[in-house]
């Protein structure tokens, strides 16, 4: 029988180093991070359980197969997993030939509209207008709007997913908001 080290006393970076040598240890990381990655994928896919399950499994499989390439650059390990999950979700949408409808809560649309116009409250007409505007955005811009307003991630979290600086994440978001702002009154 293989001797397994007492994992309770190990730090996360030690477990990652062990997982690079033996796949058994990756199970510990899976146990810790499965739920948060599954929740992220589930809500990005509009609550489709079976597809979210498959995309999450694919995320962890890719992480497990590429853990040798993982380098600790001061970001949490979860941001590396989120980055893989983000790519897997985007790939799923790209490959999917049919339209995938992702429901968004009205409060979140309201927050986005508030950010664009500076006015609180949103009417039925404005909801439809806003949805048609965001659906016309290019996929990479849509991802940022989704992460910031629908997933309610901080700029720091977004920057970790994209491996960019926090200031850069803010700048990208505000550029997209500016674009939405200029389109808001034109339709």
């Amino acid at each position: 029988m293989k001797f397994k080290r007492n994992i309770k006393n190990l730090s996360e970076s030690e477990i990652i180093e062990l997982a690079k040598k033996e796949s058994y240890y990756f199970g510990i990381l899976y146990d810790v991070y499965f739920e948060q990655i599954f929740r992220f994928v589930f809500s990005r896919l509009g609550g489709n359980e079976s597809i979210a399950g498959d995309v999450t499994q694919e995320t962890f499989l890719k992480a497990m197969a590429n853990i040798q390439k993982y380098e600790d650059r001061g970001f949490p390990f979860s941001s590396w997993l989120y980055r893989i999950a983000q790519n897997e979700v985007s790939m799923y949408f790209r490959k999917s030939k049919k339209d995938n409808f992702v429901p968004v809560e009205i409060e979140k649309l309201n927050d986005l509209k508030d950010e664009i116009t500076g006015d609180a409250g949103i009417s039925e007409v404005e909801i439809d207008h806003l949805i048609s505007m965001i659906n016309e955005l290019e996929a990479s811009h849509l991802d940022i709007i989704e992460l910031r307003f629908f997933q309610q991630m901080s700029f720091k979290e977004i920057s970790e997913i994209y491996n960019i600086s926090e200031a850069n994440a803010k700048m990208r978001t505000y550029r997209i908001l500016e674009k939405l702002k200029s389109n808001w009154g034109t339709k």
Binding site: G27, F42, S43, L61, V102, P103
Partner: protein
């Protein structure tokens, strides 16, 4: 293709504990990982030691056959 819609029927966008339990399965990932990384057996012609051994045995058998 992704299209956003308003959440009219208040569909939950957060999974239940039961759904999380149902989808959490490390053995499936481990199995897929093994399948992905498991290398096929080295073909004989790519294993020089085995090839030399077989050629030697064949030469010895041939020499014994010619001798007799």
């Amino acid at each position: 293709m992704r299209k956003f819609t308003r959440n009219i029927d208040n569909k939950s966008l957060q999974p239940t504990e039961e759904q999380i339990k149902r989808q959490k399965d490390f053995s499936r990932i481990h199995h897929d990982y093994e399948k992905l990384t498991k290398r096929g057996k080295k073909p004989l012609y790519r294993d020089p030691k085995a090839l030399i051994f077989i050629v030697l045995v064949a030469v010895i058998i041939l020499l014994l056959f010619l001798e007799s």
